[in-house]
Every structure is written in C-alpha cells, then in structure tokens.
C-alpha cells in the first residue's frame, strides 16, 4: 500500500492509528482541521482532486479487470497496453478498475487525457489496443469501438465536442446507479480514491453524532429491505438485535451468492469493496457487534483478494480495529470462505457453516437476531443491502425513500443475462418495468428471435411471460405473478428455450443442493425431477410401466409441489417448486406438447427429437458415426450415411458433430 495520507498532516496533528481522532475522514478530505494552515488545506484539496482524477498530469488508461473482464480477455489487453506504452515510451497511468456493468461489451477500456473527460471503448481485445491508443492519445477516437464520454464533474475538465455522453447511452440512461456508482470508475484497490469520492464520511458521521438507536431508526425509515431475497426491512432487523442484551454480538455479511445467474455481489466487492465494508461497520455499530464475518463464495477468488486488501487498508487508516475514530467502538472483520453450498444462503445454515458444521438450517424461532452464531445475537445482511447504508446515512432516509414504489424503496441491482443483446449489471429504481430493463437497457433479444420469458429469482423464483412484461418491479408485484425479487438474477429466454427443460434444470439443481434434513425437500424435489425427466424421455427408451408412471407423475406434479411448499423446513424447500409451478402456470401448452404429443416445440429436449441425415449434404466423413454412442449411424465412408431410428437414443451428439449441417432434428 502507498503512504498513509494522514502521515502528511505534519506537526500539530496527533492522529495515529493507536490514538485515533474523530475528524480523520474530514481531515483527509479537506486537510487537517487542527491546524490553521491554508497551505496544507490546499494541498489536500489538490490531492483529493488527483484521487478523484479530476486533475491528472498524464494520460490515464482505465481497464475493467473484474472477473467478467478477465474472462473476455482483459488480462491480455492489459499486457498489450503496457507493451504499447513501453514501446512508444509514453508516460501514462494504467488503472485497473472493477466492472462498469456492461459485460457483453468487455473488455472495456477508458482513456482520459489531462483536462479532458474520460472516454470509454468497448470490445478492446489485445489486437485492437495499438490502433485505439494511437488515436485516443492524440484525441482522435475510433467511432466504432466508442462507448461514450463521462459527463464532466467540475469546471477544470472539458468535454469533447462531438462525442456522445456515456450517461446518455441506452444502457445507462434508464438506470439509477446508487450502489454501482463507483463500480468501474474507481480503483478498487485504493481506499484513498473511495475517500476522495465521499467514502467513509457516513461512518464518521455515525460514530461522531448518532446513537445506535438513531442509526437503526434512520435505516428503518428509509424503507431499505433486504436485498438478498426475502426483503425483510433491514432497520427493523437491526432493532431486534440491538434490543438483545449480550456480551457478544455478531454481524455477518452474506456474500455467498449461490443463485446461479446472479453476480452483483461479486461485482460490488470487486469494483467497490469499501462501500460494502463501510455499510458493514455502520451496521455492526448499530447493533453493538464487535466481530463481523464476511461469508463469501470460494468461487470468487478475485473478490476475496480485493476484500482482503480493502480490510487491510481500512485497518491501516484506523477505520477498523480498536477504538475506531476515537468512538470507543471496536470491530474485527474476518473473511470466511463459503465452501459451495446453495443452502448456505439461508441464515441459519450460513451460521452453522461459520461455526464449522454442515450447512443445514434449523427451525426458527429463535431468529438469529436473538440467537445466531455461537448462540449469540447475530445479524446477517446481503452485500447489496450493506452497500446502500452509507448513502442512506449521508443523504437521509427521505432521500432514499423518495424513489421506488409504495412498499419497496430505493434501487435494485439486477444481473441481466441470457438471450439479450446487452448483458450485464443494471441498477434501476424500484418500479421500473421488466420491459424497460429488457428492451431499453438490454437492447432487446438477439438474432431476431422472439422473447419468451424472463426467469427472476433463480431456483427459488419463477418466470415472467410476455403478457406480464409491463409489471413494475417491486417485492410484492413480482410475487403476484409467481416470481420473486430474489437476489436479482434476470435470465432472459427466447423462443429457442424450452420451459420444461428450464424447470428440469432448476429441479436438478435444487435436489442436488437440498441439504437433506427434512423429507419434503429431500425426497420431494427428487421425485419432481424424476417426473420432469419422464416427460422429456423418449418413448423408445421407455420400458415396462414407465409410460404409465409418466402419466401418473404428471397427475401428481402440482400436488407434490404444494406439499413441498407447505411442509419444508427452510426457505430453500418452501420455494423449491416455484420454477415448476410458475412454468406450469404460464407455459401449460409446452408441458402438454411434451406429454401428449411427445414433442419439444423449442427443440431443446434432444431425446424427443427425431434425427435424420440429409443425403444431399452428407459427405460421408464418418465423423458422426464415430461419435454415435449407440452405433445407430450406418454408411460407407465418402457416401451419405443414414440413421437407424430403432437404435437412436436421441443424444444429439451427431447434430453437434456434423460440420456440414447435414443432420436435421425435428
């Protein structure tokens, strides 16, 4: 880490990590308060402008280095940028930032010249670096790769005349970015940059001027509801824990983003770890906890690294540890890596996992706020919930609840993925319609296909069909159509996706992830999967009574789902049948096509397809015949092959193998 900024305060300032001062954050931002030294103040104002990158001395190149950026090749791009600068002997800063949220356009590179606004480019793969930088460093921008320029934040920065603003881009315009405000813009490895943009002022305010009750009340009035899925009011939960008297309380941040299809927690921690950390310190203060855990998935190595670095920096500045900002409040933060169990998103299961046990839920009450980790009062909040806290404290509850619907306030981050043109992280005000997110922000469905449904809430959620696209998103409206807010995964599906297959996919996931403690969930989900498998099995592979069992299963599917909902111990089981129920509700015709006509209208369930070889196109390369596991493809080399239908097991491997499009499936 670079030099600690408070060491430059000089004589008169008595702040040290061992002997903290309540004004530290203000002093860092505005220069030491204890000294009437205008020179020092100017120096700090200047320093902060440098950290905000309002004034830069040399060109700065920013590169999105989140996991998604790296997946798209940002690592190679970075190497190419460094090689380019070396070769041309250009003096420029290269800053690795988090993800701005536009995953489909990764790798994203921004270039800022002194005195000018920052200009963003999309799809900057290593081969494009040299050409792009050649122009950009001279102020000539390649229009094809251009994303836009950022709006100038103060007078010292001049906007480019004829470049569009990034904020006006279709992807960003409908968004309200509160949680993601810094993501992709600041260096997540620098606490100074976070402080320069107003970071840790909320913490200073809380510790200096607010009681625990006031913090809880402020968060409660703001109407902030848990962003992890259930939507319980965060402030109310804090009050429960505050009310308990105990010699030890715990605060846990749930970053075990188990929902396959959601990645906002990862992006927030990778792009702006201090925002979450600040919210967590405030939360721990509000309930009186002096030990906090971050329970984070081991599958997110980069996020863990960034978070660990952020904790170290906060400690160095005395924002974590003993006697934080001379308030007498202590906090120790420990990172616990989740070991990969979906059920650990459930509070009591997570607590068991922290304690080193199998992550199995237990009946509530007692609620964790009364008796949680190590049988002490414990509060568990999601990353996104905590990332909202600092701005609520800074701007007030009424600022926060001015946006949103009647019962859901503020914004929500969604992970938009699947068959849309622009995938990524989007943060919108509550009450935005599903249509707006998919058509405006996401840019509609790709390849000229038709929209079918959007899956929200992951394995506990449901699908929203075409006819409900105009629904205004909030916790309650989504429940009405059988979906849930969940953690915010939004997977868009087009006409090529089979809804029975999607339901089967989720059941397969849930029955694997069921912890096995209660019977309705353990056995019920397995049975549901069996029924769905029977529906998608080809008649040719059915033997004995299997056809009969198939029909029987269908009769029981709905009933079984209701039993699982009513009788399961935890939220995982209670919501497990949702994907099936919701697809049954909106896409009954697809189920019927599978069951009665034995057809998959979308052509996804490979076993239900009949494969054929187009003799005109087949070159007789024998590739399919060697791949066929059932030896159902016959023919001499270099002559057209044919498929023996009685032998075909419908695995579809010939279809994926053929390079001449000779195989048809119907």
């Amino acid at each position: 880490m670079s030099e600690l900024l408070f060491n430059r305060f000089g004589e008169g300032c008595w702040h040290q990590t061992q002997k903290p001062c309540p004004d530290l954050v203000d002093c860092l931002r505005e220069g030491p308060k204890c000294q009437q030294n205008e020179e020092k103040k100017a120096e700090y104002a200047k320093l902060m402008a440098v950290y905000r990158r309002d004034t830069i001395a040399k060109p700065v190149i920013y590169l999105g280095m989140g996991t998604c950026g790296l997946g798209a090749g940002a690592g190679k791009t970075l190497a190419a940028i460094k090689a380019y600068l070396n070769e041309k002997a250009i003096d420029a800063d290269v800053v690795e930032v988090g993800c701005i949220g536009m995953c489909s356009a990764e790798p994203l590179m921004d270039v800022q010249l002194p005195g000018r606004t920052r200009v963003g480019f999309t799809h900057v793969t290593e081969d494009k670096v040299a050409a792009l930088l050649d122009g950009a460093l001279k102020g000539e921008f390649d229009r094809e790769a251009l994303l836009g320029q950022l709006k100038p934040q103060h007078d010292g920065i001049k906007a480019w005349d004829d470049l569009p603003f990034m904020e006006d881009h279709d992807f960003f315009k409908p968004q309200t970015r509160w949680v993601l405000v810094n993501c992709g813009l600041i260096d997540p490895g620098s606490i100074e940059e976070y402080i320069s943009r107003g970071g840790y002022t909320a913490l200073a305010k809380v510790l200096k001027s607010m009681t625990q009750q006031e913090v809880c009340a402020e968060v409660e009035t703001s109407g902030l509801r848990g962003r992890g899925g259930a939507g319980f009011p965060a402030g109310t939960k804090w009050k429960f824990a505050l009310r308990e008297s105990s010699n030890q309380k715990y605060f846990i941040c749930n970053a075990d983003e188990g929902d396959p299809g959601a990645f906002m927690d990862r992006a927030v921690i990778e792009g702006d770890p201090h925002r979450m950390l600040e919210g967590m310190i405030i939360g721990a203060y509000a309930i009186g906890a002096d030990k906090a855990y971050v329970y984070i998935r081991a599958e997110y190595p980069l996020a863990i690294k960034r978070l660990a670095a952020a904790i170290e920096q906060a400690k160095a500045y005395g924002l974590l540890g003993e006697n934080i900002l001379d308030s007498g409040f202590n906090l120790k933060v420990i990172i616990k890596q989740g070991a990969g169990a979906f059920v650990c998103g459930e509070e009591t299961a997570l607590i068991h996992s922290v304690e080193g046990k199998r992550g199995m839920p237990r009946p509530r009450p007692p609620f964790p706020a009364v008796s949680g980790a190590f049988e002490k009062p414990t509060i568990i909040n999601n990353v996104e919930t905590l990332a909202n806290i600092a701005s609520i404290i800074n701007n007030g509850a009424s600022w926060f609840n001015a946006i949103g619907t009647e019962r859901s306030k503020g914004t929500k981050v969604f992970a938009l993925s699947g068959k849309v043109n622009r995938t990524g992280l989007v943060e919108v005000a509550m009450g935005t319609t599903v249509r707006q997110i998919i058509e405006e922000i996401g840019g509609g469905i790709g390849n000229g296909k038709a929209f079918k449904a959007v899956q929200m809430g992951g394995p506990s959620g449901g699908c929203i069909p075409q006819q409900h696209m105009d629904i205004e998103i909030d916790y309650d409206s989504l429940k009405k159509v059988g979906a849930i807010m969940g953690s915010g995964g939004m997977v868009v599906m087009d006409e090529d996706n089979c809804m029975v297959d999607v339901a089967k996919f989720f059941m397969d996931f849930i029955q694997r992830e069921s912890c096995g403690k209660c019977i309705p969930c353990r056995e019920g989900t397995k049975r549901m999967l069996e029924i769905l498998k029977a529906i998608t099995r080809a008649r040719r592979t059915e033997g004995g009574f299997q056809a009969l069992e198939r029909f029987k299963g269908i009769m029981y599917l709905q009933k079984l789902a209701e039993v699982i909902q009513d009788c399961s111990l935890c939220a995982l089981g209670q919501t497990a049948p949702n994907p099936v129920l919701s697809t049954l509700r909106w896409f009954h015709d697809e189920y019927e096509a599978h069951i009665f006509d034995r057809k998959c209208p979308a052509g996804v369930c490979t076993e239900l397809l009949i494969y054929d070889i187009d003799a005109e196109k087949c070159t007789g390369c024998t590739a399919c015949a060697t791949q066929c596991p059932a030896e159902a493809i016959m023919g001499k080399p270099k002559t057209p092959h044919y498929i023996v239908q009685d032998k075909c097991i419908g695995c579809g491997s010939c279809l994926t193998t053929c390079r001449f499009d000779a195989i048809t499936a119907s």
Binding site: C103, E299, E355, S417, T423
Partner: protein
C-alpha cells in the same frame, strides 16, 4: 501444487476451535489439491474431532475433493444463464474430448473435470474455467482448441 508440510498448516491453527474446521480444510486442499485420508486424520487430531465428523462436513460441501485433481482443473459452469446459452453441449463436448465424467481425472493426470454452480460471469455465458483462467462464450467447437492449448503448453515445458 506446492507441497507444503501439513504440519506447517496445522501449526497455524494451534488452539483453534471447531469454527476453524472449514478454513483448515480449505487451506489443506489449496496446497495439496485434495483432502487425503491421512490429512483428514491429522486434522481430526489437531481439532480434537472424530474423522467421521470431518468427513460429514467435507462431503456436505461441493468444494472438497477426495482424490487428486489433474494438472489442469476444468470447471464447467452450469448456472442458469450458462444453461440457457447451451452449457450442456459444452459439458458434453468436454466429456467426449477428455473421455472422463465430472469428478474424474484423465488417466495421464493432465485434466480433471468438475461442474460448478456459478462462476459469476453470467453476462458472457457459457463459461468454463481451466485452472485460474476464465474462458467466456465457449462453444462445443472451442472446447477442443482450449484444452489442446494446455496440452501444447505442457508439451513445450517438458
């Protein structure tokens, strides 16, 4: 994989309680690649826990492996977004190419295969991870190329 002496790892957890079990298992797996029987027994001695309890915990979580992984560990994401974009085909192609099932290691010890719930790169689905490297927008055709590049790299090293 650096072969650190297990006692070195255990020494860090002197006087640790039950809550150190999962971090300890993770650290041992990190340096050995998997949890061997001997390692589990030693961990049990250290934490004063029966081996059966440790296996109870270790087998509950998806992260822990009980036999040595290949030199390159291939993780196939089977999250929702990846599924919708055709990760089943990718998995099928990898299985066919490596001739192993998830949870197994190729006979030459080069590759091992694992299915993971979500890597968190849903915007660029389907995704696979080989070692530390993430590959986005993988198609069944690309699989062969990706895996062969590792074979070539390895051959060049020898």
């Amino acid at each position: 994989m650096a072969s650190v002496d297990i006692n070195q790892i255990l020494a860090k957890y002197a006087n640790a309680g039950r809550d150190a079990l999962i971090p300890l298992l993770q650290e041992v797996q990190e340096s050995y690649g998997y949890l061997s029987r001997d390692a589990v027994i030693q961990i049990g001695r250290q934490l004063n826990l029966p081996v059966s309890k440790i296996y109870g915990v270790a087998t509950f979580y998806n992260q822990f492996r009980f036999h040595a992984p290949g030199k390159f560990h291939v993780q196939v994401c089977r999250g929702t977004a990846c599924h919708v974009k055709g990760s089943a085909g990718v998995l099928e192609a990898i299985k066919r190419h490596l001739k192993i099932e998830p949870g197994q290691t190729t006979r030459d010890g080069m590759f091992s295969l694992e299915i993971v719930a979500c890597i968190g790169v849903c915007g660029l689905a389907p995704v696979i991870r080989v070692g530390e490297e993430v590959y986005a927008e993988v198609t069944p055709d690309k699989v062969k190329r990706i895996l062969n590049s590792y074979r070539r790299k390895e051959a060049a090293n020898e």
